[in-house]
Amino acid sequence: MSLEQQMLTALVVDFPFEWNYIRSIVRVSLYVSLTAVALSTLLSLPVALLVGFKEFRGKTLLTSIINTGMGFPSVVVGLVVLFAVSNQGPLGSFDLVFTTEAMILSQIVLAAPVITGVSLAAVSSVEQNVRDAAYAMGGTNLDVALVTIKEARYGIATAVLAGFGRAISEVGSVLIVGGNIASSDGTSVTRTITTAIQLEARQGRFETAMILGAILVVLVLLVNAIVVRLGSGGGRYG
């Protein structure tokens, strides 16, 4: 048998048994990353608008925090979040260690700077004239902000997807704060695609690792394809 044939047989034979396991892992991954990205976006957009259009003290500092945060190593974020949610840490009483909530928290820390940074570039390129028009038509400051977001929608969508890409594919922080837990019946509790790949590969179950890897790659490719499309769509604005 060739290697491919072997792998194919392995897939077909193992698949029904592995399927629940894989599905639960993908579900946890998507739940954690989508929630983290949604919350990050809610957090990031006001900050991007603030930094983009308002003068305030500490603006330079905030900008450099955002820029540094975009490249923050995920293991470091994991450690910091672990420290925060640990029983000994400031959020200790919430009992969040090894939960999806803690994973969401750490992915927010990872994704929010990316989303803020890219959104900032997008909203900054919205012309002042258009914002003035919204104000002159009787819009409140909130309306002006909404118009700005709408005008920058392609750029913001790119930002959100970039944040999602970072969240779904990072392994360091979710491993540390989530603990990579699966229950004894073989469904994921805090196991994500990335931490599962690491574990499965370590344990020599390469078929499962490959399936998960393929799913992750497809997800990330999909996101990138959309980003590229939106990126070229954004240039259409005029």
């Binding site: 029983n87 000994q88 009483s93 009992d95 260690v97 990579n180 837990i181 004894s184």
Partner: protein
């Protein structure tokens, strides 16, 4: 104080769990009080990767209507997590580190659980002439004497801890070793490979060595106690509950129920019968020739009452 998530969940899960307890006809009267809760167990990667825990935990979860979250970490991290009160019970195989954990008051009710053993492997030409040695410390001494290459895990894992314990026994100081003493810097597999390439000796758990034996040229030179060899190469696994007096948030009742279950006949039989690739990986303590049912304390340690 805010309501704890686990307590909250236990309220939610209570109804379900009572039903479950009824179904299984559990004879334990404290079932309803702990059911629906989650036990966080930290353990070492090597233990976790054998797959034994899934076999062990499923019947326990069914019986009590609880969930066991098993987190695989390095030995140091597993103990540290427990130390911080972020897990309820910890299962490791590093006696000296466990002792420290106990001595500092973070653990209570340690129990012997199971064991397997380490072996010393090396090249077949055996420059230090340790083959057949029945004292691990003597073998180590011979290696140091010959300044033959030795590859250490160097990662504070259970295996590394054991290695240091043996060096300690020889009275030699690791820090003073010359270039023959190498740091493998990673997992057991990598360390074995390094020893294989550099033609050195190393300490390895029997399971991993048997797994990799076909891919490397190293020979088993010093046997562990499983095959009647050096007692010092015993690799005992212990389980410790986190002290509720130090961390009031830990789920002590459930931790003790787990320890009770895992040292019971049912738990011990699962351990004894567990096979991976047709190989017995663990030997249950209670089913061994010389079972130890008592809590064991660090040697020469008396708990002072004033801390």
């Amino acid at each position: 104080m805010t309501i704890q998530r686990r307590e909250f969940l236990s309220v939610l899960g209570g109804g379900v769990a009572v039903g479950l307890a009824g179904c299984t006809g559990a004879d334990d009267s404290d079932g309803p009080e702990i059911s629906g809760e989650t036990l966080t167990l930290t353990t070492t990667t090597s233990t976790y990767d054998t797959g034994l825990l899934d076999e062990l935990n499923a019947p326990f979860e069914d019986r009590y209507g609880v969930t066991v979250d098993a987190v695989a970490q390095g030995t140091g991290a597993a103990l540290r997590t427990a130390r911080d009160g972020d897990s309820d019970v910890v299962m490791v195989h590093a006696r000296s580190l466990e002792d420290e954990f106990m001595e500092e008051g973070y653990g209570v009710n340690r129990r012997d659980l199971m064991f397997n053993d380490f072996v010393i492997v090396g090249e077949s030409d055996d420059p230090a002439d340790v083959e057949g040695e029945d004292d691990a410390a003597a073998a180590f001494e011979a290696i140091a004497e010959a300044e033959a290459t030795f590859v250490s895990r160097g990662d504070e894992s259970g295996t590394h801890t054991k290695e240091l314990e043996i060096w300690d026994e020889t009275g030699l100081t690791v820090e003073e070793f010359g270039e023959w003493y190498l740091d493998g810097g990673g997992g057991m597999g990598e360390t074995l490979n390094t020893a294989n390439l550099d033609g050195g000796y190393t300490l390895v758990d029997r399971g991993t060595f048997l797994d990799m034996r076909d891919e490397i040229d190293l020979e088993l030179l010093v046997e562990g106690p499983v095959e009647g060899g050096s007692e010092m190469l015993m690799n005992p696994y212990g389980i410790v509950a986190v002290n509720p007096a130090v961390h009031d948030n830990v789920n002590y009742d459930l931790a003790m129920a787990y320890i009770g279950y895992i040292t019971s006949l049912e738990g011990q039989e699962i351990i004894e019968e567990y096979r991976s690739n047709d190989e017995q990986l663990f030997f249950a303590e209670a089913l061994s020739e010389d079972p130890n049912f008592r809590q064991y304390l660090p040697e020469g340690w008396e708990r002072s009452s004033d801390d």
